[in-house]
């Protein structure tokens, strides 16, 4: 962002050690151990009820934990009340004080820390510049748009130089178009302030777009920690494979015959060579999911000569096509599996129609262990609704 103002903050690395929260017999959060580097943007991602919001409340001091320690830098904070922790919080509904002006809202944390009026005014001016709201300082929150309110909330949370900023699903009240804009805004503000930030969301797209690292949570424990790219390309568990991005899951068994990682998948003729393998895969004849991203499936008419060189190919029938602007989603009926989804550029598949017979070529795949406890339910796993569906079936 041009003319970027940088701002001194009190950013600290944050560490959680074995943090646990129980409600009776139910573990909302179980043994969470985590380190956030100074200036890092870390996202807690997971379906509702996975413990991400509980973790956030514990870090902020709004809920006492049952065990474990939390340190900001070398300072242990888990025994301190919320108002002594030096954490900036941005809420889902922003919680801007409606009876105060934007300026008074941003200065509130400074006022609580006994800054002089002159120092408050200087700092507020810097922050208004940082969030590009110069000139709106004397408005009341009710006179601002949703996106502007969001930026005021961010400025207020950053104003007093917090050790850490926590964002609690701050985008979920915005409409789709504004959300895209504001998430880049927030990311930009965070980068310029070099502010250690923990972001909580159930929206995997937000997580992928905004984070330096993502912590994927499920049922109170951490499933996987990694960069957005790692989480997308090499999920470690079935949950991660299903939750982050759309994925075609084919049930299969792992082959360890010394020819590199390969698997035999239901419905495919020969074994298929995997590009990448989760660390939990390795035992001979282990049950695995062969994960194929929709963009890793090549599509051509069955009558044409093969154009794609891939790992395996098979013939299926087009059942539905969804135009999305830059790409087309195509669903296929295929024996053995309810349906498979591919995502291709429009010009490549424009001539296809539902009912056509096509050859699908798998261009790349990844293997994750298949847990015995869950029923085998292959096919497309796409959680555009933020994983709530997974949550219900779990």
């Amino acid at each position: 962002m041009k003319g970027g103002t940088s701002l001194k903050t009190g950013s600290q690395p944050v560490s959680l050690e074995a943090v646990t929260k129980r409600f009776g017999e139910f573990y909302a959060v179980r043994d969470i151990t985590l380190r956030v580097e100074a200036g890092e943007f870390l996202t807690l991602l997971g379906p509702s009820g996975c413990g991400k919001s509980t973790t956030l409340k514990i870090i902020a001091g709004l809920m006492p934990q049952d065990g474990g320690r939390i340190c900001f830098g070398s300072r242990r904070v888990d025994m301190l009340p919320a108002n002594k922790r030096n954490v900036g919080l941005v809420f889902q509904n922003y919680a801007l004080f409606p009876h105060m002006t934007v300026r008074e809202n941003i200065a509130f944390g400074l006022r609580m820390r006994g800054w002089t009026r002159a120092a408050q005014a200087d700092r507020v001016r810097d922050l208004l510049a940082l969030v590009r709201l110069e000139g709106l300082g004397d408005r009341k929150p009710g006179q601002l748009s949703g996106g502007q309110q969001q930026r005021v909330a961010a400025a207020r949370a950053l104003a007093f130089g917090p050790d850490l900023v926590l964002l609690d699903e701050p985008l979920s009240n915005l409409d789709a178009k504004l959300r895209e804009e504001v998430r880049l805004d927030l990311r930009d503000i965070q980068r310029r302030a070099r502010q250690t930030t923990i972001f909580v969301t159930h929206d995997q797209v937000e997580a992928l777009v905004m984070s330096d690292r993502i912590v994927l949570m499920n049922r109170g424990v951490i499933e996987q920690v990694g960069s957005p790219r790692e989480l997308y390309a090499t999920p470690e568990t079935e949950f991660a494979a299903r939750f982050v991005g759309a994925n075609n899951l084919l049930p299969g068994t792992f082959l360890s015959d010394g020819n590199g990682p390969r698997a035999r998948a239901a419905g495919l003729e020969g074994p298929i060579a995997a590009n990448t393998v989760a660390s939990g895969v390795g035992a001979p004849d282990q049950e695995v999911w062969v994960c194929v991203r929709p963009e890793q499936i090549g599509v051509e008419r069955a009558s044409e000569s093969p154009r794609h060189a891939g790992l395996a190919s098979f013939v299926a029938r087009v059942s539905d096509m969804v135009f999305q602007g830059t790409s087309i989603l195509i669903d296929f009926q295929w024996e053995g599996i309810t349906h498979v989804r591919a995502e291709r550029p429009p010009e490549e598949v424009a001539a296809l129609h539902p009912g056509d017979e096509v050859r699908l070529t798998i261009l790349g795949c990844h293997l994750v262990p298949r847990s015995a406890s869950r029923p085998v339910e292959g096919g497309i796993a796409a959680y555009a609704d933020g994983g709530r569906r997974y949550d219900r079936s779990a």
Binding site: A60, G61, L62, P81, A82, N83, K84, R85, N86, V87, G88, L89, F91, Q92, N93, Y94, A95, L96, F97, P98, H99, F108, G109, M112, R113, P141, G142, R156, A157, F160
Partner: protein, 286 residues
Amino acid sequence: MTLRAGAPAPRRRRGPSLPAILSALFWALYLALIGAWLIFPILLVVLASFQGNLEVTWPPGHLGFAGYRAIPGGYWQSFWFTIKVSVGASFCSLLISFPAAWAMVRGRLWERRLFSSLVLLPEIVPQLILGIALLTVFIPLGLSNSFAGVMLGLIALNLAMGLRFGEALLQGLPEEYELAAASLGAGKLTALRLIVLPMIAPGLAIAALFIFMQNLIAFVLLFFIAGPSATPISIRLFTDIIDRGVVPEAIAMSAILVYVAVIFYAAVALALGPRYMAGALMSRKG
């Protein structure tokens, strides 16, 4: 209105249909009746106060301030006593009930429902019983027939209402505001003073108004506690009317009570603006 036989099918969307007109008429009549039902007694008293007679005639004749001029000093004494004790009791009961409501709503006391029901008791128990009970306690303490006694009795009544208002106001205020204040470094009391109170101030003003109105006309309970040296206006009027009938000065004093209520209501309404009145209980939106 003419009806032509054999005319083409009636054109629609040409003005409101007959059922729509009938329903609009019905609603207008309904609202007018309700308005009359609510306002008629007030108008009657005000009109009667100027005529000096409850048997209001129409068209009104002999309008004048004779009734008002005849109001005896004892009435005025009781009037000011009532104003003072009502304001005092309203203020004290809010001072007690609001922090209690805050503790009950935000502290999530498990005993909350029990407390909530307990403070309703003065409203559920007939005031007759409450009055007798208070009298038996007040007599040995020397509190009956005193300003303090009347005020304590009113506070007992007001607490229930104050707590109801307080609970509703705080439940309508998302807790995020207080959590945000805490995360910014404010202690609980600071957050209460700088964030919660300003945000629910309009609601508190309305609560104070309603409690004050209730006190202005409280009767049954005070009938037991009051006495010659502490006579609220309601009791004074009642005993006078029993003794001497509906005298013009009593009607005039009743009308003055109506004016007081209207003035207080208007003052609060003007201070808050129209969107908080007309049944709006909630604090301002976030």
